[in-house]
Symmetry: C2
C-alpha cells in the first residue's frame, strides 16, 4: 500500500504530538494516547505505523524517541529542505520572512518576481527575476515552491516552475489548480475558506459539519 | 439534508466557474459543463443545486445569471461581510492589506494585537488592543476572525474571540484547533502543507494521491 496524503498528514500530526509529549517527559506512548490526541482509533495509529515499519512492543507501547527519529527521517526533517517563494508582494514577503520555517527544517532560499522593482539579489533572502528560476532552483536543489502571484499569472507559471525542476507547488492564488503527473499542487485559498466559514456562521441552524 | 462544508465549497467553485463563463458570453449552462469544470459528475451538480432549490429546464439547462444570483445570496455575497484579523505581525498585516477581499464582498474592519507598539487606531485599517475585541466586533457586527498569532497564544484566544461574538475562526497558527459547538474553526497550516508536499516530492515513486 502506498501512503496517501491523508496518512502523511497524520504522520505530521503524530510528530507534533510526540514532541509535546517528549517535552512533558514521556518516554513511552501507546497507540491509544496518539489516537485520542488525533481523534482517531488506536487501530488506525498502529496501521499507519506498520505501513512505515514503525514497531512497538505488545504491552510496552512505542518508544517516543524511536518513533520521532523514524518520523523525522520519513518527513525529510534530517536534511534542510530548500524552498522558494514566487511572487514577492505583501503575502509573498510575509511568507519569505516567516519565522516558523527554520524550526521545521525548511529554508526559503530565494524569492522571485516579474516586477523588476522588487528584484534585489543582495537582500538577506535575495529576490530574482523569473528568468533566474532554473539557475537558482538547481543551485539550491529546490523542489518545492510557494506561489503567491495574482490569479491570472498562476496557471502559466506552473510550466516555468516545472522546467526549473519544481515538483511541488503550494498555491495561494485564489484559483484551484489541479496537480499534474509531474507536479503536485496544493491550493490554499483564503477566500474560499472565509466564504465557507461565512456561510456556516450566517446559517447557524445548519449543522456544522467538520 | 443539511449542507456540508464540502457542498458549500462546491457552491463557491460553481460560482467562480460561472463568472468565468459569463465573461465569455455564456447565457445558459448545463450540469455537464459545470461537472466537467469541477471534475465531478453532472448528477452531483444537479443534486447540489436542488438542495438549494436552484432549478433548470430539462433540455435548456440553467440560466447563468439566475444561478449566480442565487449562489451570491446563499454565500452571503449580497451584503459586505466584515472580518477582523487577530495578530498583526507580518502575516497578519499582509492579510489585512490583501486586495482580494473587496471583490469577494469581504472587508477587514480592524486588526488586533497584544503588543501595544502595534496598536494604531488611526491607521487606514485600525489596530486595537485585545481588550477592544468585543466592542469593535459588536460595532461592526463581525462574526468571523482571521487568527495569525503564535502557536502558544492560539488556544486561549478562542475564548476571548467567542465572548466577542465571533462564530468562525480561520486559524493560521501551526496548531490544529478543533471546532467547537459555538465556534467553527478552519485551520490553514502552511507548515503542514509544505511538509506533506516535501514528503511526496522526495518520494516520487510513491503514488501522488490528490
Amino acid at each position: 500500500m502506498k501512503p496517501t496524503e491523508e496518512i502523511i498528514r497524520r504522520l505530521s500530526n503524530y510528530r507534533r504530538v510526540l514532541y509535546k509529549l517528549k517535552s512533558l517527559g514521556f518516554i513511552k506512548v501507546f497507540s491509544d494516547n496518539l489516537g485520542d490526541a488525533l481523534g482517531i482509533s488506536p487501530t488506525q495509529v498502529r496501521k499507519d505505523f506498520s505501513l512505515f515499519k514503525i514497531t512497538g512492543k505488545k504491552k510496552g507501547g512505542y518508544e517516543v524517541e524511536v518513533i520521532l527519529e523514524r518520523l523525522n527521517t520519513i518527513l525529510g526533517k534530517d536534511v534542510i529542505q530548500n524552498v522558494i517563494v514566487v511572487g514577492c508582494g505583501k503575502m509573498g514577503s510575509a511568507l519569505m520572512n516567516y519565522n516558523g520555517f527554520a524550526s521545521e527544517g525548511m529554508r526559503v532560499v530565494a524569492g522571485f518576481d516579474a516586477d523588476p522593482s522588487l528584484v534585489d539579489p543582495e537582500a538577506r533572502i535575495p529576490i530574482y527575476g523569473l528568468e533566474d528560476l532554473s539557475k537558482i532552483s538547481q543551485q539550491f536543489d529546490v523542489k518545492v515552491a510557494i506561489m503567491t502571484v495574482p490569479e491570472s499569472r498562476a496557471p502559466q507559471l506552473i510550466d516555468s516552475l516545472n522546467e526549473a525542476g519544481i515538483k511541488g507547488i503550494l498555491n495561494f492564488a485564489p484559483i484551484e489548480l489541479k496537480s499534474r503527473n509531474d507536479c503536485l499542487i496544493h491550493n490554499i485559498s483564503i477566500l474560499l475558506e472565509l466564504e465557507n466559514m461565512i456561510y456556516f456562521v450566517n446559517n447557524l441552524d445548519d449543522k456544522i459539519v467538520i
